[in-house]
Amino acid sequence: MCGIYLDHQSGCPVDPRVEEFARHYSCIDFGNPSALHSRGLAAKAALEEARGKVAELIGAENPECIIFTAGATQANNLAIRGAALRNAARGKKLLASQIEHISVLNPHKDLKKGGFELDLIPVDGMGVIDVSSLERLAGKETVLASVMYANGEIGTVQPIKEVSEIVHREGTLLHVDATAAAGKIAVDVQKDGIDLLTLSSNDIYGPQGAGALYVRPGVRIQPVIFGGGQERGLSPGTENLYALAGFGEAARLARLEMAEESRRLLAIRTALMDEILKIDEAYLTGHPSQRLPHHASFRFSRIEGESILLTMDAMFNIQVSTGSACSSRTLEPSHVLLAIGLKHEEAHGSMIMTLGRQNSISQVPAIASAAKKTVERLRALSPL
């Protein structure tokens, strides 16, 4: 099962150094961080160490800004529901970009059912948010705007600083989902002017089942689930110590290694894009340069994405992703690909490659050759 794994956007291996570090907290200092005995205190210390490491990755004011959650979906829900409901006295208008992750769009849509107004901000053909729409729509009654740092399907990085300036003119809170961006490009909540920021552990090679919400000092949110007083009462429940200790270590490693690793991945990505775009009727999706360094995404005319994924996997042992409708549970094409203006039949032919620490430049010829053969094989079957 070696193969070439190119779906880091969906799932990353846990870095062996993280695994080694975190294991200690599942079998030695495994106590409940709320307990007052020595094992509990050791666990609490580990939890706070992790909080500090995560805070450092994103340039947070202090570790207390970090609320640990069981993943990015929970952090997004806490940010959106927690901020909108807590600050509803200000107004009941919400904004989100059209290409947000489903765990951002769905809480917004649910609030809409509950009486909030929701406007979706369009993006251009390369996936960059239309700042003039944002300017027009962000008003005095807008309580919260969600704009992602970068998109996992098309790789496009948003001009977050500019977004922040616009959103803050009328005092709207800015929520940024940085799940895809953190650990890949520099994210600094203070420089960027972010009020609420979502992070995922697994996306930076930490264990699954852990995430965090950064809450800027002074920003008030309320819990969306209720229980004990853990995480300032905002994310109650006994902490997943193993995963969170690992998340912290993963954040530390990402911070130290990001600059060099991103340069390395960018070189691979550039070579890969050059090769794959030589294929007849192959097109890049997303922005050519304003994009995540490890991210390459394409569409091919006249073929379908699930068939691409299956062929790449079964014939070449290369794992990729697609935004095709046929690979989704709902059979709807990716809302991201439709938002950048692709027709349904174009959106069906998408392929997403996201590189990671185990990939190397020497794999590029094999990947490009496999992609070319896959496209040729499926076009030979296609009546289009």
Binding site: E306, A314, C326, S327, R329, L331, H344, E345, L384
Partner: protein, 148 residues
């Protein structure tokens, strides 16, 4: 345990599809689906002594759409037309050891394309009237939603 992903048989037919291609001047031709919905299938038949003497397909679509096309052509090959006409979407799905629930509509396409090709032949030889050859399902027609 619930089945994870496609059956082995679906993958076999997807990876090594049978009867791919076109028949020049076919006796019957059927085309169903819509690229907007992510699948389009065409089937060509050659008829001899009221039997499917040869059959070919071309499909744009997902793994199950391609596997279904391959399977339905295998099932129809050599069969009397009346019998081939009785092949149902369920027969095709069963022969493939099942399809994931959200992919069952793909099996419609295979049977529909086969039936359309047979009816096209029957219209040509005057066995049925053109209006009797209209498609059985409305998969992917303009203005309708895709999927099941």
């Amino acid at each position: 345990m619930a089945q994870v992903g496609y059956s082995k048989k679906v993958m076999e037919h997807f990876m090594n599809p049978k009867n791919v291609g076109v028949i020049d001047n076919p006796d019957g031709y059927g085309k169903v689906g819509n690229p907007v919905c992510g699948d389009l299938m065409e089937i060509f038949i050659r008829v001899k002594e009221d039997k499917v003497e040869d059959i070919k397909f071309r499909t744009f679509g997902c793994g199950s759409a391609i596997a279904v096309s391959s399977m339905v052509t295998e099932m129809a090959m050599g069969k009397p037309l009346d019998e081939a006409m009785k092949i149902t979407k369920k027969d095709v799905a069963d022969e493939l050891d099942g399809l994931p629930p959200q992919k069952m509509h793909c099996s419609n396409l295979g049977a529909d394309a086969l039936h359309a090709a047979i009816k096209d032949y029957w219209v040509k030889i005057g066995k049925i009237k053109p209006e009797e050859a209209k498609p059985e399902s409305h998969e992917g027609e303009e203005g309708e939603s895709c999927g099941t």
